[in-house]
């Protein structure tokens, strides 16, 4: 609600997000579009509890972000929010299956259940056969699908994706959009920051950020 986020950049102050008020409900599929530097990533970080607003309030599942300590916020992100990044950020030393198991192990899920859930999620994103491959042995599209599987590991309420198709070709972007659409149909809320018009058009709702302000 009326969220502002500014940064000090040398002598000047950059207003990345200016007075944004918005709500994400369960089952939403929201695309936030805008040009580079318009504040999309900052807004996504604020929504996911990675950043705190300079002014205004962000509520996550009813809790005010400002009131949560680092440990509580981390727990909240672990269990309720899934993150997908443009550059995947998979751990190169671990296999696809192990990458998917990571959030499960942090949540305290036992080894056997971790393995079963990771196998199921990799099958869900069409990578069952690539489970033991390391990220370096996968294509960009496959890596992003592993990242989506990792984001879904703890069955979050919302999946936040920052330019998820930014590093992918047309065919892989299409595959990611289809995956997102099917996840949304299953009830998962998605917020996607993108300047990929094709991906934005696939969402149920579209918001455009211009210089940190919501347009329309």
């Amino acid at each position: 609600m009326d969220v502002h986020r500014s940064y000090r950049l040398q002598a000047s102050t950059v207003e990345a997000v200016r007075g944004v008020t918005m709500q994400v409900d369960s089952g939403d599929f929201l695309a936030i579009s805008g040009s580079s530097g318009s504040g999309k990533s900052t807004l996504l970080h604020l929504l996911g509890g990675l950043d705190t607003p300079t002014r205004g309030e962000v509520f996550l599942a009813g809790a005010r972000v400002r009131d949560l300590g680092d440990r509580q916020l981390a727990r909240h992100r672990l269990l309720n929010v899934g993150f997908v990044f443009q550059r995947f950020h998979l751990l190169s030393m671990l296999s696809a299956r192990e990458n998917v198991e990571l959030p499960l192990s942090e949540a305290g899920v036992g080894r056997r259940e971790r393995r079963e859930r990771a196998a199921h999620l990799l099958e869900r994103v069409g990578l069952a056969r690539r489970a033991n491959h390391r990220p370096g042995e996968l294509s960009g599209g496959e890596r992003q699908r592993v990242a989506v599987a990792r984001a879904l590991a703890n069955e979050p309420h919302v999946l936040l994706a920052d330019e998820p198709t930014g590093e992918l070709d047309r065919a892989n972007s299409e595959a990611i959009l289809e995956l997102f659409a099917s996840l949304n149909e299953e009830g998962l809320a998605l917020v996607v920051a993108t300047h990929d018009m094709h991906l934005a058009e696939g969402a149920r709702r579209r918001l455009e950020l211009i210089d940190g302000r919501l347009d329309g």
């Binding site: 992100r77 993150f83 030393m93």
Partner: protein, 396 residues
């Protein structure tokens, strides 16, 4: 799960990890060696002095045993007086002198005039300067036992040898004849010395020092405190220097304080180098992974989980390197000990580097804990990074 990421990160950079393990091993070896040196001299010296149970030493006033050529006089009377004291169980006089060993038939000699030997005159029934390994003690007039050095030159039990006072170069044929009756291991022999032992009165006669001794060794009855006994005997015999082994060790340690300080400084520097190496590697390694760390924090990993994972990396490095360093340290200490034992005038039995499991354990644990602390700083810094800012930087 995260520990797997950490360990594979170490294994994934084999050259970097190996170099650090090697560096920390060398630093550990230095630290362990210095620890052994610092503690070793005193312990080894004490063990040497209490050899064969003689816990007090009597030497000429103002000197330490064998420190000077000064001798105690009227030692027969002095020995009897000492034996008359309630706490004294035995008195072993010893006279030390350099003698000239004249060329002997059947044994090669580099110098036609003869060569030096270090002679000790002792009471064969009350002595603490050698352990007999072959033959018998020199109980008869004209009998000697020789050290392994002369035995290795070809002398053996039953052979004869001609001994003379040094400086008496009148004739290579001069000197008195002695018979070798035993081979012994001498306690206080220095590198290059060729020790022999004979009856005290024999050596006194040969060196023209009647009723004299370089020092006396005193054996106390069981249960008597040597330091208290030394203090009491000092008041009764003010003409002599009487000291317990503990007091002699303290004096020796005071003289060797340079070694201890050097060992302490070098040990501390080695530990510091090891900590710097681990800290530097972990800083570089963690800095390389800022993007992954920010992503892990974003997907819900707590600071504690990440710090634990990174700390375990540092711990593995220190445990492995410390273990290698222990072995290397023992090898270095052994080599340096052999070099330092060549110091002239030092008994061969004195060891500079003494292996004490407790000290090694302390050194090892200190290294591991210091390495762990060195890891915690970059680990906590990384775990506390601004997630949003780091992701902004990492993403295009």
């Amino acid at each position: 799960m995260l520990w797997r990421f950490s360990y594979r990160e170490l294994l994934g950079h084999p050259l970097r990890s190996s170099l650090v393990v090697l560096g920390v091993s060398v630093a550990t070896a230095m630290m362990i060696s210095m620890l052994m040196l610092g503690a070793g001299i005193g312990r080894s010296f004490a063990e040497l002095l209490v050899a064969r149970g003689y816990t007090l030493r009597v030497s000429p006033r103002g000197t330490l045993p064998l420190e000077t050529r000064a001798t105690l006089s009227d030692i027969e009377l002095l020995s009897l007086d000492l034996l008359g004291q309630a706490e004294v169980a035995g008195v072993a006089p010893a006279l030390a002198a350099n003698l000239l060993l004249r060329p002997t038939a059947g044994v090669a000699s580099a110098d036609p005039q003869g060569s030096r030997v270090f002679a000790l005159g002792i009471d064969p029934d009350e002595q603490g300067v050698y352990r007999l390994v072959d033959g018998q003690a020199p109980r008869g007039v004209g009998e000697v036992v020789i050290g392994s050095e002369l035995a290795s030159e070809g002398f053996d039990v039953g052979d004869g040898m001609k001994l003379d006072r040094p400086g008496d170069f009148a004739s290579p044929a001069s000197g008195d004849d002695y018979e070798i009756v035993g081979v012994a291991q001498f306690v206080y022999t220095s590198k290059g010395e060729r020790p022999i032992a004979m009856r005290l009165d024999d050596l006194q006669a040969l060196t023209l020092r009647a009723d004299a001794a370089s020092f006396l060794m005193i054996r106390l009855h069981p249960g008597i405190d040597p330091t208290a006994a030394a203090e009491r005997l000092r008041t009764m015999f003010p003409q002599a220097e009487i000291a317990s082994v503990a007091e002699l060790v303290a004096r020796a340690e005071a003289r060797l304080s340079y070694f201890r300080q050097m060992a302490l400084v070098l040990g501390a520097v080695s530990l510091f180098v090891a900590v710097l190496l681990v800290g530097t590697l972990m800083s570089v390694s963690i800095n390389d992974r800022y993007g992954s760390i920010a992503a892990l924090r974003a997907i819900g990993f707590s600071r504690q989980s990440l710090v634990t994972a990174f700390a375990s990396e540092g711990l593995v490095l220190c445990v492995v390197a410390g273990f290698l360093g222990l072995g290397l340290g023992l090898m270095v200490a052994g080599y340096l000990d052999s070099v330092l034992s060549d110091f002239p005038g030092l008994p061969l039995a004195v060891e500079f580097f003494v292996l004490e499991p407790g000290d090694l354990g302390t050194g090892y644990l200190t290294l591991v804990l210091a390495g762990l602390l060195a890891t915690l700083v970059p680990a906590w810094r990384a775990a506390s990074l601004d997630i949003a800012k780091t992701l902004h930087r990492e993403e295009p």
